[in-house]
């Protein structure tokens, strides 16, 4: 009479109402998260919804024990595991959230996402293992679907499949984002052929484990499924380039929501289905928004059209590039009346956001109009640059979207491009054959002078040459973004 899978629908009215309130606050919180003014309150609301749900569950399991036959010992014994798990996980979460640098945000989100996927996987596996070893276990001649019903069998299989893919996919994304892994190929891993093979095997195992295999064979099938799906997760993400990771995390985030919803079907808990599918759907929309921002279709991202070799794409030879120095730039800046700063990935990597603000403040102090043009995918994930500049205390009203700023470049004497490349490449307009053709870009070349701060002339993620650097009104200032900005600040002060 023992099972870890208990129907939440077995609870009384009040308990149902509490879960319902939690679902309500999840929806409202998520809604509020989409507006700048209410975002923080929305996040708090969602976290309170989570707290309520967790406390309710702990209460139901530990104190009412109604889900658990009448085995008082088992109920008592479960309390330290529950509390211990929450405390340990909570402390790790607090530690990671406190110590992370804002520039490392993309990889942290990827890591957290992997943990969510792993959790769904483990819940499903715990259920499978319990069916095999609990007091009421599956008969040796019985299929899981006969034992538990086809819905539970299918949910378990899908939960394992999606949870596993989310786990390893997110970990690969984490490794790529944190620069621990650049390769896009490891032997056959990640080739379309192998991925298709793994996917077919995984689906076959979902069906076999849930509906065809009997007794212990079912458990074994699900364990093999876990291994196959873990491999599949790696294979799906390995071939995708680092710049596309935000899209991938967003999609994996959606998967982790769906995995949670599937565990909701296993445990027959409405709240898991509601919250899981909210995230599942929201993740899909976010994925779509990000694809749009990068001018890529989802299939183009997933089946890697460019950046599919091990880096080293296209020899980018430049002629007639004008290079400059901080000393030359200072008087130029002083003479300007309107300056637009275009920060990019390089600024994020160099953690130069504070220096950037310092230069901006300095220019403003001398009466120069300073604004910031933010490309939707500037930084290391969409919206990341806004977070970084907010961290550096750059005022909100100085940040402008692509659409808002593009008409302004022609009025600016100087545009300072910091560690950005593809987002201001005129090829997007000029060359229909270019991989970035049609991508919305910042028209920085409209300004009188464009200063590009960059480490070298190497290509950006698109792996293509940027003719902007050869233009007459473009000055290249080679160097690390932070150092370069520091030099400019020093020289400007010395004027």
């Amino acid at each position: 009479m023992i099972t870890p899978t208990i129907a939440a629908m077995d609870t009384t009215l009040i308990e149902q109402l509490v879960y319902m309130a939690s679902a309500f606050f999840f929806v409202t919180g998520l809604k509020k998260l989409t507006k700048v003014k209410t975002a923080r309150a929305g996040n708090r609301m969602a976290s309170i919804a989570m707290l309520v749900a967790v406390l309710m569950t702990v209460y139901l399991v530990a104190f009412k024990g109604q889900f658990h036959g009448d085995s008082v010992e088992a109920i008592k014994a479960s309390i330290p595991w529950m509390v211990g798990g929450l405390v340990v996980g909570g402390l790790i979460g607090i530690f990671l959230a406190k110590k992370v640098e804002m520039t490392e945000m993309p990889e942290l989100v990827a890591f957290f996402n992997g943990m969510g996927g792993a959790s769904s996987l483990f819940v499903a596996l715990a259920t499978v293992v319990a069916f095999g070893s609990g007091a009421v276990s599956i008969g040796s001649e019985q299929t899981l679907s006969a034992f538990k019903g086809g819905d539970i069998s299918l949910s378990i299989g899908l939960s394992i499949l999606i949870g596993s893919v989310t786990l390893t996919g997110s970990l690969v994304a984490y490794a790529k984002l944190s620069g621990k892994m650049w390769k896009n190929r490891f032997g056959p891993v990640g080739t379309p052929g192998l991925n298709i093979l793994l996917a077919v095997a995984a689906i076959g195992l979902v069906v076999f484990g849930g509906f065809l295999a009997t007794g212990a064979m079912s458990t074994t099938a699900f364990l093999i499924l876990t291994a196959v799906a873990l491999f599949l997760g790696v294979g799906l993400v390995v071939p995708i380039g680092g710049a596309d990771m935000p899209v991938v995390i967003s999609l994996l985030n959606s998967y982790s929501g769906i995995a949670a919803a599937m565990t909701g079907f296993i445990l027959q808990n409405n709240l898991l289905i509601v919250a899981g599918m909210l995230v599942g759907a929201a993740g899909l929309i976010l994925t779509q928004i990000m694809c749009k921002a990068m001018n890529r279709s989802l299939s183009n991202v997933l089946f890697a059209k460019f950046g599919e070799d091990d880096g080293e794409k296209g020899d980018t030879e430049y002629k007639g590039v004008t290079s400059t120095s901080a000393e030359e730039l200072a008087p130029l800046l002083e003479a300007a009346s309107k300056v637009i700063i275009v920060p990019g990935y390089g600024l994020a990597v160099a953690q130069a956001q504070h220096k950037c603000r310092e230069l901006g403040d300095l220019l403003e102090a001398t009466g120069i109009d300073v604004s910031y043009g933010i490309h939707p995918v500037a930084g290391r994930m969409p919206g990341h640059m806004n977070v970084l500049l907010a961290e550096a205390d750059v005022a909100y009203e100085k940040l402008f979207d692509l659409d808002q700023i593009n008409g302004e470049f022609k009025n600016a004497e100087i545009v300072i491009v910091i560690g950005a490349n593809d987002v201001c490449n005129p090829e997007a307009y000029d060359n229909p054959a270019s991989p970035i053709a049609g991508m919305p870009v910042l028209d920085v070349w409209d300004a009188q002078t464009v200063i590009v701060i960059k480490r070298s002339l190497s290509a950006g993620y698109a792996g293509i040459k940027n003719p902007l650097f050869e233009r007459d009104n473009c000055l290249m200032f080679f160097g690390d973004a932070k150092q370069a900005l520091e030099d400019m600040v020093t020289e400007f002060k010395d004027l």
């Binding site: 088992a74 996980g89 792993a118 599918m277 929309i285 919206g383």
Partner: protein
Amino acid sequence: MNMNLWIAALETSEASASSGTLPFYLIGLWILILASFTGLEIISKVPPTLHTPLMSGANAISGITVVGALYCVFSDVGTMAQVLGFLAIVLATVNVVGGFMVTDRMLAMFGSKKKGGKS
């Protein structure tokens, strides 16, 4: 509504809908579809500024699976299942607590500014 479908299934070793009420998975599918549309609808318009915080906030919500994990740590389901359940709780809680906290950290930086021009 048959509140004891699950228990009944345990005792009779087969899921029966003999009571003439909807089985859970059908109700669950209704909820799934409606929740999906809700999710699609509320995220449809979001300024680029919030892409990162929204993603990390939504990510934290997906840690809801912690609720499921809490059901999985009874001693008499066997040690193996119990350990898996415990791990599930730990990992989901990392996701939840870390996700909400880091989102709050990001949004606090936005909040310290005067709320002006969009994006």
